[in-house]
């Protein structure tokens, strides 16, 4: 177990290293932060000054070494839009993003598990079709549009919740649903499929024929066997959230998270800050994948120690 863990951690660190190097290639080889920060009509002199100020006039290898050694100690460069260390700006916004992802994950799991079980319980009956309908609708609608619909109905028309910003728990509700509905739709179908397959296996047929009710068999027998797949898929949804949904939903709800910071940084031509946000989000994705692997291993010891 320990050896497996060590190997997984090294592999994860390697992926982070490759991804950040790719980011460096885009931000320093194809273009550079000074060029991006200046308007097109800036004079050559002005550009040279800015390059020197940012240390971009040095050889690429030296810059790369600086970048990598900075990463190791958590230094992601200096944001020239905010005049502060980029890592500090990103880390300040990180709790908001994590809160949002936690809320969305709660919505996802709390909707998907019962819906999947209900659909499998009443296979090919009304509940099953209703859950399929919900899944198809939720995965087909863009999350940012769901966000605006929720705002129009619950904030503007009914006035139950605040429209924008983060004011405590209540303002977390709408964005969590905007992100979580699509994930719940995918996960519910996967759960249903898993349980239906398991119900055909001998152990489940035995349980049923010994007189256990369908609901008891699903909750106590088959769902446990689907659980490891459920965790893996939840992990997948988490990575989707970190990298796509949160960015868009943070813009919709004016949520002060890392994604919205990155969008503002793009608007202000602050390449260093965008780079810092992307590096942090990509690292979160890798860490999530690692945690999912460990969780799977703990839930289901049959999972191969690959």
């Amino acid at each position: 177990m320990l050896r497996w863990l060590a190997r997984r951690i090294i592999a994860a660190a390697l992926v982070v290293f490759v991804v950040t190097s790719l980011v460096f290639v885009v931000t320093h080889v194809f273009t550079d932060p000074a060029t991006v920060s200046l308007p097109l009509e800036a004079t050559e002199e002005h550009r040279a000054d800015r390059r020197a100020a940012l240390g971009i006039d040095r050889p690429l290898a030296v810059q790369y070494w600086d970048f990598v050694s900075g990463l190791v100690v958590g230094d992601l460069g200096e944001s020239f839009w905010q005049d502060q260390p980029a890592s500090k700006l990103v880390l300040e916004r990180l709790p908001a993003t994590l809160k949002l992802v936690a809320g969305a994950t709660a919505v996802t799991v709390l909707l998907a598990a019962p819906m999947g079980m209900l659909a499998a319980w009443w296979e090919r009956r009304f509940a099953d079709h209703a859950v399929l309908g919900f899944s198809m609708a939720s995965i087909s609608a863009p999350p940012f549009w769901i966000g605006y619909l929720l705002i129009i109905v619950f904030a503007v028309q009914l006035g139950w919740v605040p429209t924008f910003g983060s004011r405590g728990f209540i303002s977390l509700i709408l964005p969590s649903f905007a992100i979580g509905l699509a994930s719940a739709g995918r996960l519910a179908q996967m759960t249903r499929r898993g349980i239906v397959e398991e119900l055909r296996k001998p152990y489940a047929v035995t349980a049923l024929s010994r007189g256990f009710s369908r609901s008891y068999t699903i909750v106590h027998h088959t769902f446990r066997n689907v659980a490891s797949g459920f965790v893996t898929m939840t992990g997948w949804e988490l990575t989707r959230m970190f990298t796509g949904y949160t960015v868009v939903i943070e813009v919709v709800f004016a949520w002060p998270g890392v994604g919205r910071l990155a969008i503002h940084a793009i608007e202000n031509r602050d390449l260093i800050l965008v780079q810092a946000a992307v590096v942090v989000l990509a690292t979160l994705v890798v860490v999530t994948n690692l945690l999912v692997d460990i969780a799977r291993r703990m839930i289901d010891p049959r999972v191969e120690l690959a």
Partner: protein
């Protein structure tokens, strides 16, 4: 020796039979009868065809206004049924432009970006998957590691950094969507090749001296097509959704061109006195993506052999 010859010739026959026309004809007629049984398949094909037609000939449809025509006195006219008139069936936006005309104009961008991105991803991804699966060894390890890294660095992040570096453009969006989807084709293609590689017809072709390129192109690829088409449809749904998200963030099409995602971005300041802008634009995206998803659901069920046999058995006279 004769035994070997027999295996070889029968192997070669299997390979030839895979590409023979009678096989294809049965698949097509099966597909048609399968479609008649499937409400999801019919609705999916219907929605997708309407979308494709509107996107292609939209501007030449009768009674459609100029999507760029502004008319400030008519701004924020509600749709028919909410106090509007048939002059603007779906109402107008903050500049008095006709929503219906702008939706039709936006369909074009969604279709173009979606198809282009999936096309690039499918070609690149399948080629890499074929090579990884067939050649194996170090090349396989390299390609699969690249796919794993790509999984950890999904589209929107790549999009953020590329837009920050090069500025927004439609081409950039196409490339970003393509690079966030190629590894799906690589993984599926590689998996299928690994199982096919040991088949008799592949071995026969190798033994008869065919170069790897010919084995991959003539014998392996045709066997991947049906799975890959299903995958293309699935990825098309994702690509259209991604395009709308990028357009919404302002990374794709720039005004005055319109796109569904961009309409939502521009309409979001008017959700109190002009809810229809955001609502109809989002509805257009959702319906099209739903159509593509239904199509993919049906194709998957057709590729699922057990379910197909069930439906063929139920066929009257079958």
């Amino acid at each position: 020796m004769t035994a070997v010859d027999d295996t070889m010739s029968s192997g070669a026959d299997t390979g030839a039979a895979d590409a023979a026309p009678p096989e294809g004809v049965t698949v097509l007629s099966d597909l048609r009868s399968h479609l008649r049984k499937s409400k999801a398949g019919i609705s999916g094909i219907l929605i997708c065809s309407v979308f494709a037609v509107v996107a292609t000939i939209g501007p030449w449809l009768p009674f459609i206004k100029d999507p760029a025509q502004q008319s400030l006195p008519d701004k924020l006219t509600p749709p028919v049924g909410w106090g509007g008139t048939w002059a603007h069936p779906l109402g107008t936006d903050q500049l008095g432009r006709d929503i219906l005309a702008r939706l039709i104009d936006g369909a074009r961008i969604s279709l173009l970006v979606g198809l282009a991105a999936v096309f690039i991803a499918a070609i690149l991804g399948t080629a890499l998957g074929l090579i990884a699966g067939y050649v194996g060894g170090k090349i396989d390890t390299l390609i699969i590691s690249a796919a794993d890294v790509q999984m950890a660095f999904p589209g929107v992040l790549a999009g953020l950094i590329l837009v920050a570096a090069f500025g927004p453009s439609v081409w950039l969006v196409i490339i970003v969507i393509a690079i966030s989807s190629w590894m799906v084709f690589t993984r599926v293609g590689r998996g299928l090749v690994l199982t096919l590689k040991t088949s008799l017809f592949v071995e026969a072709s190798e033994l008869s001296g065919a170069p790897s390129s010919r084995v991959m192109w003539r014998h392996l690829l045709p066997n991947l097509v049906s799975s890959l088409i299903t995958l293309c449809v699935l990825e098309l749904a994702a690509a259209i959704l991604s395009e709308s998200a990028f357009a919404f963030l302002g990374f794709g099409v720039q005004p005055p061109r319109s796109s569904w995602g961009l309409m939502i971005q521009q309409g979001r300041n008017y959700i109190t006195d002009g809810w229809w802008i955001v609502t109809f634009a989002g509805l257009a995206i959702s319906i099209v993506v739903l159509g593509v998803n239904l199509l993919s659901l049906w194709l998957q069920s057709f590729n699922d052999v057990a379910e197909r046999e069930q439906i063929i058995l139920e066929r009257p006279g079958g």
